[in-house]
């Protein structure tokens, strides 16, 4: 019983900052600065939302959608193929390649930004959504998760299939892919959310307003201190942006969570 209560308390604590942010987005400058904060806004206002939506460009929605979809496809593809290769094959340089693929987390990524910017300029994709997405789809965490997931398929199954004469492609098709839904969903969630919140890089690459995604466009609007409306309640407007971006994320998550949490634990159980 105590355990259940503790868990519930944990739930409250974990959701509280988010709740405050959502509530704050509905308040004007006095409400949002109030101490202690109201758990429910006394004078809810939609002004923050009208301000940010008023300055929102419809193209931002499409840009964000494009970025998310592209990121998901690429990152899931790369992570799964690399993770699978790491899990079930032995080959020369395996250790070296593993370290290389994970090395990205060992250097402060922000120092890589300037050379990366030069690289995408050389590749001709600077200023485009491709340039914003490509450098960010290699995810060490994703590869790692894919690897441990695919490791749960016993080697024996693979071996016997190979002994039976099945080609690698056959193995992929009939053994690996069918059970991959959980990891794919998990990586999709990971990659999708990551691409939505990758602020600094996207801001750097996508400078034309027409090409910007939601987060960048909205944050720039909120930080535009020459605009008297934006200057009035920066905290509230910031919270509105955050809340606004949160809703789609949480909805997607609520639907997919069943698949992937079940998946990782379910597959590991097998």
């Amino acid at each position: 019983m105590i355990r259940k209560i503790t868990v519930l308390m944990l739930v409250v604590i974990l959701l509280l900052p988010l709740w405050l942010m959502i509530i704050g987005s509905f308040q004007d400058i006095n409400g949002v600065m109030k101490m202690p904060p109201d758990l429910l806004p006394k004078d809810p206002t939609l002004k923050n939302y009208t301000a940010i939506l008023g300055s929102a460009d419809i193209r931002w929605f499409f840009n964000s959608a494009f970025i998310v979809i592209l990121s998901i496809v690429l990152s899931v593809g790369i992570s799964c193929s690399a993770g699978y290769a790491m899990a079930h094959f032995d080959f020369k340089f395996k250790k070296l390649i593993w370290i290389l693929l994970l090395s990205q987390i060992m250097i402060p990524i922000i120092t890589l930004y300037i050379p990366r910017y030069v690289v995408i300029k050389h590749l001709g994709i600077s200023g485009t959504i491709w340039g914003a997405v490509f450098p960010c789809v290699l995810s060490p965490m994703g590869i790692y998760l894919a690897k441990i997931y695919f490791e749960t398929i016993p080697d024996s199954i693979m071996e016997s299939a190979r002994l039976d004469g099945a080609s690698e492609i056959r193995i992929l098709r009939s053994i690996v892919v069918p059970i991959s839904k959980p990891i794919i969903t998990a990586l999709a969630l990971f990659g999708g959310v990551g691409s939505l919140s990758n602020y600094i890089w996207q801001m750097l690459v996508l400078q034309k307003t027409a090409r910007q995604p939601l987060l960048v466009g909205l944050m720039k609007a909120v930080n535009n201190f020459s605009d008297p409306i934006m200057r009035l309640n920066p905290l509230g407007r910031c919270m509105a942006v955050g809340s606004f971006l949160l809703f789609p994320i949480i909805i997607i998550f609520a639907f997919t969570s069943r698949y992937f949490t079940e998946g990782i634990s379910g597959a590991i159980k097998e």
Binding site: R3, V7, L10, L14, P17, L18, L20, M21, G24, M35, P36, G77, I78, A82, Y84, A85, F89, F91, K92, I97, L100, L101, S103, Q104, I105, M106, I107, P108, I110, T111, L112, P115, R116, V118, V119, L123, F134, P135, V137, L138, I143, L145, S167, L189, I200, M219, L235, C238, M239, V241, G242, L246, I249, F253, A254, S257, T261, I264, S265, I268
Partner: protein, 280 residues
């Protein structure tokens, strides 16, 4: 062998992206670390940037801070995620799903935006200080000094990331054969003993990886620190590199520090690999 060929083919996308967007930039960073850069007229200075690090007091301060982060953050994540797992482990499945959902919410929330909320929560007139005041203690300026700032930021970071580890560890825990527990219970073991002596050892590999990832991660934290507490006593090494390269404007010097950090972390990883190999 078709086996190996298949592996190489599978790795092509990953390696191509790596070469283009990690490898090539990395080599550039190494190259630039031998220059004094202002992007207008760059001057070759050889090893001067590296030598400068050894006499740079602010770098050592950041390094020292980072050691604290390393310990607090890693311990924090491990303890909190493990505790949560143990907490929910024996409860019915419904609770598992609820927990997994709830702990993952902070992970998927955008750090940039949430930082503003954190700033507000820990503000001198914010909710936490309000609670503290009610308890009769003087309000604390959480981000004002290193003593309070580093634990606070570690706590925030733990909060934002431990969900991932809960999910991984919980999955691991649940995959342990139930029969082992039944046997232990018959032998009269308490829950606590089961946790300590059976579950933990079985998860050693995952725990080791988690610790390594967190140690590395503690060096890389920059966004949160940036937005919350722009004071030197809470700086991590990465934050210091950012300041050096982009705010003070010494990109070459910052690059040298980054490369040094990189070498250090690779060293750490190799050491960890050697240790776990010996244990296995």
């Amino acid at each position: 062998m078709s086996n190996k060929r298949a592996a190489y083919i599978l790795l092509i996308p990953g390696l191509v992206f790596f070469l283009l967007f990690v490898g090539w930039p990395l080599i550039e960073v190494v190259r630039l670390s031998f220059f004094k850069i202002n992007f207008i007229n760059d001057k070759f200075v050889g090893l001067k940037n590296y030598l400068k690090i050894f006499s740079d007091k602010t770098f050592y301060t950041a390094l020292l801070n980072n050691v604290f982060y390393m310990v607090l953050y890693t311990a924090g994540v491990c303890i909190v995620s493990l505790s949560t797992c143990f907490l929910v482990f024996n409860l019915p499945k419904k609770w598992h799903d609820l927990t997994r959902f709830v702990v993952y919410v902070p992970v998927i929330s955008s750090g940039v935006i949430l930082s503003q909320t954190w700033k507000y929560i820990f503000h001198i007139n914010g909710p936490i200080n309000w609670i503290i005041a009610k308890l009769g203690i003087k309000p604390v300026a959480f981000f004002q000094s290193g003593v309070t700032g580093i634990p606070t930021i570690s706590a925030i970071l733990t909060f934002q990331i431990f969900g991932i580890y809960v999910i991984i560890l919980l999955a691991n825990m649940l995959s342990i054969d139930k029969q082992i527990f039944d046997a232990a219970k018959i032998d009269g073991a308490s829950n606590g003993q089961i946790n300590r002596f059976i579950i933990l050892p079985l998860m050693k590999k995952q725990l080791g990886m988690m610790i390594l990832l967190n140690v590395i991660g503690s060096f890389g934290v920059v966004e949160t620190v940036l937005l919350l507490a722009p004071y030197e006593h809470t700086a991590t090494v990465t934050y210091h590199i950012y300041q050096t390269a982009f705010v003070i404007g010494k990109y070459g010097y910052g690059a040298a520090q980054a490369i040094l950090l990189f070498i250090f972390i690779i060293g750490l990883t190799l050491v960890k690999n050697r240790v776990s190999k010996e244990e296995a």
